[in-house]
Structure formats: C-alpha cells, structure tokens
C-alpha cells in the first residue's frame, strides 16, 4: 500500500532523512520509535506534504503511484491522514464548518453524495462521543482554547470521520494524561481495520501498551537502524537505545 524507498530529505539545507525504506500493507500497524531529533516528525510531515521539507532523493509510492507529486489536499483525498503533534488553532472557523467541509470533500472525491447538515450533525455527535468530546465543541473555533488532550482527541475524531487508508499519528501520546491516553488509544484501535494501516510515530513505548503494533522500527540519525515485532518496543523500554549504539537525544535539532 505505502512504500517508502531510499527517502532522503532536508530542511534549510540540512539533511534530516538519509535513506528511509519502509513498506506498509493494509491492516498493519507500524510504530516508528527513536530518540528526539532522529527525523520521526520529518517523515510524517513529508508524507502529509509539508513543503518546508525538501525531498532530495528516493520515492514514496501509494498503491504504486508517486505520492510526492500530489498536493497535500490530493494526498488527503487519496487516504493519507496526519494527526498533528501540535494541531493549530483557527479562530473564526468553527469545528463544525471545518469538519463538514472536509468530510464532504472526501465524499465528493470518493463519488459519494455530500452529507446534509442533519446527517453530518448526527455523525459528528456520535463520533465526538467516541473520543469523549462534548458535542458543544463543534460550535467553537477549530482547536480554539482546547487543552492539549482535547486537541489530540479532535485529531483522532477527524481520522474517524475522514476514514483514511493510512493514519499517521505524530507523537499523538505526548502531553496526555493516563485517561486521555486511554481515550485516544481506544479511538486509534477503532480505526484499525483490514483495509487501513496505521503508522505511529512515538518517543515512548507507553502508547504501545494500548495500541499493539505489528512492527516496530527504530529511527536514528535519519535511518531505520532496527526493525522487529512488538517485542522490540519492550526491549527498548527495558534497555533504552544505547544497546543499538545510539545515544538518546542524538543529533537533536
């Protein structure tokens, strides 16, 4: 489904990714772990189409098609979803207006009828309950005045409503207390399906207690230095990154 081949990328002339290779199939859950500054967030930003990063070599294929040629909105419609580490606040655009526009953009792209206001509200209310957000939040500006946890739950809610083919979660566990972590994890587990893949980028193993991955990769210095099954995450928790020859906090940038 998603193939990343020899991906090199830099920002402001500095090379961050130095040859990433990764294959993700439908139904799989992958976790990318690694110390701060290893390039984890860069990888998710590039997949979503953030133009601050320049791809200098390699390719990313979605179902055999060149993903990197597509604009951000086209990638989203083809099924790429990025749950942001720091979702922006957009006062003046209500969550309702934003979600409805996004849901209908997806539906139109998939050849489905747009949802009416009533149908949309029903779906939005149901989904907001699933991530434990008060439906009243729909009237507020996008992420406006949300706590860190509410922002993350809103990201997961969007993933549930937009039904992506691959959901990329960028440090979705950061800044969450244990209850919020549970809610977010339940949301992500609800996303799992045989047709959909999940790529989790995380610094800590604790999220992986709730969302059990099929594969774990260690990213360090812009490369994947080790891959394994779920047991690799436990080993990392026990032993840190040192045994892989990586210092925690390498190349922090």
């Amino acid at each position: 489904m998603l193939s990343i081949r020899n991906l090199h990328a830099s920002v402001e002339g500095k090379e961050i990714l130095k040859g990433i290779n990764l294959d993700i199939k439908p139904g799989e859950v992958h976790a990318i772990m690694g110390p701060n500054g290893s390039g984890k967030s860069t990888l998710s930003a590039i997949l979503a189409g953030n133009e601050a990063y320049e791809v200098t070599d390699g390719e990313v294929l979605l179902d055999g098609n060149n993903l990197l040629e597509l604009a951000t909105e086209e990638r989203a419609r083809e099924g790429i979803f990025l749950a942001f580490q720091y979702p922006v606040e957009i006062p003046g655009v209500s969550n309702m207006q934003f979600l409805r526009t996004a849901v209908n953009a997806m539906r139109t792209h998939r050849g489905k009828e747009e949802l009416s206001a009533v149908e949309f509200m029903k779906l939005a209310k149901e989904t907001s309950k699933q991530v434990d957000l008060d439906p009243e939040f729909l009237k507020r500006g996008v992420n406006e005045g949300f706590s860190g946890g509410e922002k993350k739950r809103n990201e997961i809610m969007q993933a549930l409503m937009l039904e992506p083919r691959i959901a990329i979660l960028d440090e979705t566990d950061s800044g969450l207390d244990i209850d919020a972590l549970k809610v977010v994890s339940d949301g992500v587990n609800a996303l799992r399906s045989p047709e959909r893949a999940v790529l989790m980028v995380t610094h800590y193993q604790r999220l992986l207690n709730h969302i059990v991955p099929d594969y774990v990769h260690v990213l360090a210095g812009g490369k994947i230095v080790k891959s394994g099954g779920r047991e690799l995450a436990l080993e990392l928790e026990e032993r840190g990154y040192g045994w892989l020859g990586i210092k925690d906090e390498v190349e922090a940038s």
Partner: protein, 431 residues
C-alpha cells in the same frame, strides 16, 4: 471647460438647482448651499483626509446631471420587515411599505408640511463636521428628496426598516439619497440602508444619513454598500447622542472604483455609547476608504470600534479612525481596533488610528495590524482534503466572521455572509 480627474474645484455643472418638488424651506436651503459650493475645492492628494483616495475620484461633466427618478424599483434584497425604496434619490411610495405605528412618522421630504420642513432645514447637517466631510456639502445642495423618520418618546419599531437606495444608472449622472432620523427619548429602531445599483453607465452616489438620538434612544444602523463597479460612492453618516443613548453601527462594503464612507459620532452627554463595526473587501483594482471620527464630548461615555479590511489582487483599502476626547470628557472609555488582511503582494492597505486626548482620566486603547493568511492554518485545512481555494476562503472569512455575526438581523447576516464568501472565493480563482 472640461474637468475630469483631480479637478481643483467642483465642476460648475454640479451646481444645478435641485429639489423642485420639495417644500420651500428645503428649496431655500438647497439654493443657499448650492451658492456656497461655487469654487469648492475638490480633494487632491494634498488634502490630508483624501490623500490615499483622491486619485480614485473621477468626476466627469456628464456625471453632474441628476439621474431621473423613474419611480420604479429594480430588484433589492427582500427581507422581513418594513421597507422604503429610494430610487435615484427620490422616495417611491408605491414601492414602499410605510409602517403605521403609533409614535412613528415616516415621510418623504416632499410630503413634509412647511413647518416640519423648516425644522428639518435647520437640523440638516447638524451631525456632521462639513470641514472633515467635504463631499456631504454636495449632497445638501443637490438632494431631490429624502426620508424623514421621527420616533416619538418611547416609540419602538419592532421590526427593522429597510431603506433600499437604488441607483438606476442607465445614463451617466449622479444621485443624492438623504436620510434623517430623529429618535426621541427611549425610542428604538433598527435601520438597514442598502445601497445597490442597476445599469452600467458611470454614476456618482453621494449620500448623507443622519441620526439624532435623544436621552436613552437606541438605534441600530446597518449599512450595506453593494453597488456595481460603474458607480463611485461617497457617503457620510453622522450621529449625535444625548445621555445614555446607544448607537450601533454595522457597515459592510464591497470595493468599487471609488468607495468612501465617513462616519462621525458625537457622544454629547454622559452615558452615551456607540459600537462601530465595519468590514470592507476589495479585489481587482478596487478601492474602499472608511474614515471614522468619534467625538467624546461629555464624560462617562463609551465607544467600541472594530474595522476589518480584506484586500486582494491590486486593490486598495484605507482605514482612518479618529478618536477625539475633549477636555471635559473624563472617565471616557474608547477602544479602537483595525485589522487588515492582505491577500496578495500587489494589494495595498493604509491604516491610520488617530487619538487626540485632552482629558487626563480616560481609558483609551487602539491597535492596527496588517497581516497575511496563516500558512500553518492553511496546511492544516488542506491536509484534511479541503480544496485550497475553499481553505483560503474559510480562513479569510474567519477574519471577518466575528463582525458579521454581530449584525442583529438574521436575514441580512446570512445574505451578507454568502455575498462576502462568494466575493472572496473569486479572489482565489487562480489558487
């Protein structure tokens, strides 16, 4: 003598006599004001309050003739409420629905008796400083008719009154709509002025609306400038407020070859307060200039002013907001905010807050900003599959939604929102 652009004085053709159907006291006033206009200097770029706008003023000889009133009205935005049609500056009773409410008089100037006309003649222009609002003097020399509204003490108009001012520009010429509202003690009304046009010939729309508010009167004024791009619009609104009166103003304007609105509010007795909201949007090579003045004459008055401009393409938007706190106006509260959104590098915004404070115990704040759309917000929206053009439109509308949401008449609010949305979406056609 041909004087087209930036003529030093008003073309003598503009001095043509007006108001032949009006009661004699008003005719006398028009004639006096007409004489005073001889050799009236036209604004140039050296005229401080017109320096950014004088180059957009393009008065031709032909524009001096008053457009005839055919006494029929074209399509207007129809809303629930009372409505009066002013066609080329003349009230059209056949197309109007004058409410019959106890304590409320609504009359055309032409229908006033001599005594009432004499009283009105003495009051016209009392709310405006004609040195600062030069072009209002042309209106007072040229109006053919006008709308007079008097609310007796405690009179309340429950539904809004829509005044549809249509410029029918099937020929080149000018129109001079005039409105005068006298609001008695504790009276209330909402007046929606809708300026629109039909026809495609060059036309000048020169308006004056005045509001005189007695103690405790409460007026909400909505002013929509929706005319076609063949019209130049120079409008003025003046309001004088006595004790505890409240004036709420919501101005929404779409750009044109020349768009100028002067709004002057005088807070003349303790407890008076005003809220002035304004939105202007421009695209192409359009222009919009809002000049406001709030005079805090008396102590214990409040003013709250919020204006937003959005300028796209190579258009030009101007805001000049003056707050004058007189020396006896202690305990004044004045807040002014002007924010501007530039949608292209070719667009121009000029903003100038002017504070003159002569009292020492006041709270006065002002702020002006010019910015662009937030790239990270745009990325967030498109990363959810939202079309780039739609995302840009959503973010631009977000910049003004807060002000539109405050328009108290729901139907107007929705129509204005839809029109603004459509206008802004057009500016992203290339995106």
């Amino acid at each position: 003598m041909v004087m087209t652009k930036a003529a030093p004085t008003l073309n003598a053709d503009f001095l043509e006599a007006a108001g032949s159907n009006l009661p004699s006291p008003l005719q006398t006033l028009l004639a006096q004001r007409g004489k005073a206009l001889v050799d009236m200097p036209l604004p140039t770029r050296r005229t401080e309050n017109w320096k950014y706008s004088s180059r957009y003023l393009q008065l031709s000889d032909a524009m001096a003739s008053a457009l005839p009133s055919g006494r029929k009205a074209g399509p207007a935005l129809a809303f629930d409420g009372y409505h009066v049609v002013i066609h080329n500056g003349v009230v059209v009773p056949e197309a109007s629905d004058f409410p019959d409410i106890d304590g409320i008089e609504i009359l055309s100037f032409a229908d006033l008796d001599d005594i009432a006309a004499q009283q009105l003649a003495e009051r016209l222009d009392n709310t405006l400083d004609s040195n600062a609002v030069q072009m209002s003097r042309l209106n007072t020399a040229r109006f053919e008719d006008g709308l007079f509204i008097r609310l007796k003490p405690n009179a309340v108009m429950e539904k809004p009154l829509f005044v549809i001012c249509e410029t029918d520009a099937h020929a080149t010429g000018s129109v001079y709509p005039r409105i005068y509202v006298e609001a008695g003690t504790n009276s209330q009304m909402t007046l929606v002025e809708e300026y629109m046009s039909t026809g495609t010939e060059p036309a000048l729309v020169n308006t004056v609306s005045e509001f005189s508010l007695a103690d405790g009167a409460n007026i909400t004024s909505v002013r929509l400038s929706l005319e076609g791009t063949n019209t130049q619009h120079i409008g003025a609104t003046g309001a004088r407020l006595l004790a505890n009166a409240r004036f709420d103003s919501h101005c929404v304007g779409f750009g044109g070859p020349l768009r100028r609105h002067d709004l002057q509010v005088r807070l003349e007795a303790a407890g008076a307060e005003c809220r002035l909201n304004g939105v202007a949007v421009t695209q192409g090579k359009q222009h919009y200039d809002n000049h406001t003045t709030i005079e805090h004459v008396a102590p214990h008055c409040n003013s709250e002013e919020t204006y937003r401009n959005i300028a796209a393409d190579e258009s030009h938007a101007i805001f000049n907001g003056r707050i004058h706190i007189h020396k006896d106006a202690q305990k004044s509260n004045a807040n002014m905010s002007n924010k501007n959104l530039l949608l292209s590098t070719g667009a121009e915004i000029d903003t100038k807050p002017e504070l003159e404070i002569y009292a020492d115990d006041v709270k006065c704040a002002h702020g002006a900003t010019i910015g662009r759309l937030d790239e990270s917000a745009l990325f967030y929206l498109v990363s959810r599959g939202i079309d780039r053009r739609e995302a840009n439109t959503l973010l631009s509308m977000a910049f003004i939604n807060e002000l539109i949401a405050q328009i108290p008449v729901e139907a107007v609010r929705e129509t204005v929102q839809a029109r603004l949305n459509q206008f802004i979406e057009q500016t992203f056609k290339g995106a």
